[in-house]
């Protein structure tokens, strides 16, 4: 849903002819046909990554009270359809923006950055089609990942034989804890980048912005990678 600026999103209301906001007319309150705007614009926010959760929630409730299909049950079918589309857009936008990671990923995508697909579905899809999945091991994790994969393989073998090595299980448990801590720490690091990004939105150079984008992308990839590792460890331990 790329780039329509807030200015372009406003035009005249179909019902009263006055100026309107993106979703409903500021003069007569009628719901408007949806225009393609990004989620930040929909809420009237700048493309900044620090979002006040309580402001977002309040806006969500306020807009829900104006756009929800329940309010248009007696309106004509055209208004009903617009309210359905507008409120689905509202819900989609709220779901994306309130989650810090989804919000960051969404902004990067708006900025034209391609994220690596690291979902489990993508993995299975790649496995099924025989494609090589785009997934780079973060360099600082290379050695650890190598070691961990060896241990996981050993555990799986043992389980298959019906054996049980408490030492190995304990070792993997510790490893998991370490990964989880790292995962958490990455989030704090990300927040630091948010501040940098937000400072550059209004005044920074394109070059400076690109640098932060790349840092965030790299961080998200590492984070996803660790998440997948934790999942693998969990699966091996639980199976």
């Amino acid at each position: 849903m790329p780039g329509v600026t807030p200015g372009e999103a406003t035009s005249t209301c179909w019902s009263c002819g006055d100026m309107r906001a993106a979703h409903f007319c500021s003069a007569c309150g009628k719901v408007q046909p949806p225009v393609p705007v990004d989620y930040f614009t929909f809420f009237g926010f700048p493309r900044k990554l620090n979002v006040d959760a309580s402001v977002l929630e309040r806006e969500f409730y306020d807009l829900s009270r104006k756009l929800h299909p329940d309010l248009y049950a007696r309106a004509d079918s055209r208004e009903q359809e617009w309210s359905l589309e507008q409120s689905s857009l509202l819900n989609d936008a709220y779901r994306t923006l309130r989650d810090p990671i989804k919000r960051t990923e969404y902004l990067l995508r708006l900025e034209g950055v391609e994220l690596e697909e690291q979902s489990k579905t993508a993995t299975e899809k790649a496995r099924a089609t025989g494609d090589v999945k785009k997934q780079v091991v973060p360099p600082d994790l290379l050695e650890e990942v190598f070691e961990l994969n060896m241990q996981l393989e050993e555990l799986r073998m043992q389980k298959k034989m019906g054996e049980d090595d408490p030492a190995l299980i304990e070792e993997l448990g510790k490893e998991r804890l370490k990964l989880e801590e790292r995962y958490e720490a990455l989030f704090d690091e990300l927040k630091g980048y948010w501040n940098e990004w937000d400072g550059l939105v209004d005044s920074g150079t394109e070059d400076a912005r690109r640098q932060i984008r790349d840092k965030m992308l790299d961080l998200l990839n590492r984070r996803n990678y660790i998440r997948n590792l934790v999942r693998d460890v969990n699966e091996a331990l639980d199976s």
Partner: protein, 633 residues
């Protein structure tokens, strides 16, 4: 005004109810027999007439092959889904069912789809409401289990249409219950609704915030409820009878129906008593006697009620909440009367559940609240808004038979997702999309919702077309799909093959079929109209009696009017529309002179220098002539 009256309907597995907002309070509309609950039982009587509710119950035992209960279990399901149910329920499927066809079950020699059977129940509720309002009812909010999938929802909506109801909204049952609860409590906080009914289980966690009812997470099992307890008890009784009495009655419909009735009574008794006795007369004069204690009963049902634990835990996990963060747990559904169920909930959520609400009625009352909101609201509901979620993730099948989830479960609805498709070979004109619902990784483990064929893609080199497909789940939890080829800007044509549902054409033809039954509805409508007309003329007459014109009538004129009035009152309470009409006409004729006199006196009063207003022209002079025809939409 009248045509805008929207009722709330709880179409339950065991019982169904219809309710509406009377002023600021939701109330259940009783049936002709005075009962609030209409048992969800449908039977064909000796003259092949459809019988619904309490009156149909006796047929369950007398002619089980001509009656059906718990039809909700079959809504939106295919023959391969219901093998388990067939073991325990006496559903008689039509013999000529084709694979992939919508189920049809037999009542006598006729067959009906589950939406048609449900429509009979809805029609009865509609009639009850019309009788209550003395006016036609055409719009309704109907509740469904929160965990119902798209096909089950669609089937419920179809049932409404077949019954002649415009279904303005499907509302999730636990959410409806929360509306009734919230209307009463007016409190902010987090609540959980634990809804164990006759055939379905739902758990919903909601945040109540200044009139907004926001569902955070929902989970459940659409095939778990009191029915399962009954079936277990029936199986045990049948085993006992075989073992102790050497009698196999499992194929005897009448005997099984008798046992079912007895074990249900025992189940209910054990909620208030420490023990109960079963005493069942069997074919051939033998008796099955057995005493059961509550302790034994609780041991038996433990595995069934334990199945509610996992959905509750999942819902809490999805909501990212711990049990102690739940402010109140509200119990809904008849099966929550069982003390052991209450104990289980108390242990799980570490608090005593809220049991003040009538678990049978609260869902219907909540549906009435939502109906009121959709109708424009009232003082009580002015600030109320329901934000519900989709219970199951929506996905599409991608290469390798994998499900790619595009709308995750517990997303607030309406919700949408956009996907882009292209072609694999040059000039390809069609693309097939397989839509799934469920949480599993592989397409074959998810529920197939429908297959969509994008057609009429303009001829282009492979990979060139860019087809934007928009998936939208509406506020009813029902999926809509639209597609557009972006390079040509052409709306792509979509052909939908619902995996388990009626096509629009089928529903249309069922609506036509239902006119066979609707003839009776039409007659009822005429009676209702005539009654309203009778009331109007009688009200006018009352007014006339108080006017000075009344004094100018001769005494035998008055006597004649009284006689005609009495005749109208007499026929008004009967169901003969023609007779009511005739009596109205007669009274109209008989009061002709009274009307003229009233008109004269009004005019002469005016001449004495009074304004028309003071002369109370009101409704008096213009009535009883002409009587306006009651207007119906």
């Amino acid at each position: 005004m009248t045509s805008d009256r929207i009722v709330g309907i709880d179409l339950g597995t065991t019982n169904s109810l219809v309710a509406f907002m009377q002023g600021e309070i939701p109330v259940v509309i009783p049936g002709e027999d005075g009962s609030n609950l209409v048992p969800s039982v449908v039977a064909l009587d000796e003259r092949d007439q459809i019988i619904v509710g309490n009156a149909a119950r006796k047929y369950l035992i007398e002619t089980p092959e001509r009656s059906v209960y718990s039809i909700k279990r079959l809504m939106g399901r295919g023959v391969e889904d219901i093998q388990e149910e067939l073991k325990f329920f006496p559903f008689r499927l039509a013999e000529d069912l084709e694979p992939g066809e919508v189920l049809r079950i037999k009542l006598g020699r006729q067959t009906f789809t589950p939406p048609e059977v449900s429509a009979f129940i809805l029609r009865q509720l509609k009639r009850n409401a019309e009788r209550f309002f003395n006016a036609p009812v055409t719009k309704a909010v109907i509740t469904v289990p929160a965990y119902f999938n798209d096909a089950q929802r669609q089937a419920t909506k179809d049932a409404g249409r077949i019954a002649g109801l415009e279904v303005l909204r499907l509302v999730n049952e636990p959410t409806a219950a929360s509306l009734a609860y919230g209307l009463d409590k007016q409190q902010n906080g987090i609540i959980a609704v634990y809804d164990l009914g006759g055939g379905t289980f739902d758990i919903s966690i909601l945040r109540l915030h200044d009139g907004i009812f926001e569902v955070i997470a929902t989970n459940g099992d659409t095939h778990l409820g009191g029915d399962d307890i009954d079936n277990l008890l029936i199986t045990i009784a049948l085993d006992d009878i075989r073992g102790d009495l050497g009698l196999d009655v499992s194929r005897n419909g009448e005997a099984v129906a008798t046992i079912r009735k007895a074990v249900i009574e025992a189940k209910i008794a054990l909620s208030s008593q420490p023990s109960t006795k079963l005493d069942i007369e069997l074919p051939g004069g033998k008796r099955y006697l057995r005493e059961t204690t509550r302790e034994q009963f609780e041991l038996l049902i433990q595995p069934i009620i334990d199945r509610t634990v996992a959905p509750c835990k999942q819902a809490l996990r999805d909501a990212r909440l711990k049990p102690e963060q739940i402010g109140e747990v509200v119990l809904v559904g008849g099966s929550t009367r069982i003390p052991k169920v209450r104990a289980l909930v108390e242990e799980m959520f570490q608090r005593k559940p809220h049991t003040d609400l009538n678990p049978d009625e609260v869902v219907a009352l909540g549906a009435a609240v939502q109906a009121n909101i959709l109708g424009g609201g009232s003082e009580a509901t002015e600030n109320m808004l329901l934000l519900d979620v989709t219970p199951l993730s929506l996905g599409i099948e991608v290469a390798g038979g994998v499900t790619d989830k595009i709308i995750l479960r517990n997303s607030t609805i309406p919700a949408s997702a956009t996907q882009y498709y292209t072609t694999q070979i040059d000039g390809q004109a069609n693309v097939a999309i397989h839509v799934l619902q469920g949480e599993r990784e592989l397409a074959k483990d998810c529920r197939s919702l429908a297959r969509f064929d994008l057609k009429g893609i303009p001829p282009m080199t492979a990979g060139m077309p860019r087809i934007e497909v928009k998936f939208l789940i509406d506020a009813n939890g029902i999926l809509h799909v639209s597609a557009r080829e972006q390079r040509s800007g052409k709306e792509a044509e979509i052909e939908v093959q619902p995996s388990y549902g009626l096509t629009d054409e089928q529903v249309e033809s069922m609506i036509l079929d239902s006119f066979d039954y609707a003839e009776e509805d039409f007659r009822r409508r005429q009676v209702i109209e005539a009654r309203r007309e009778a009331e109007t003329i009688m009200a006018a007459l009352e007014k006339g009696k108080k006017s000075p014109a009344w004094g100018q009538l001769a005494s035998d004129e008055k006597k004649q009017i009284a006689k005609l009035e009495k005749a109208l009152i007499q026929v008004k309470s009967e169901d003969d529309y023609a007779a009511i009409r005739k009596a109205i006409d007669a009274l109209n004729q008989g009061t002709m002179r009274l009307a003229e006199l009233m008109m004269d006196s009004a005019v002469s009063t005016a001449l004495k220098g009074k304004t028309m207003d003071e002369a109370d022209m009101g409704e008096g002079p213009e009535a009883p002539h002409p009587v306006a025809k009651a207007e119906f939409k």
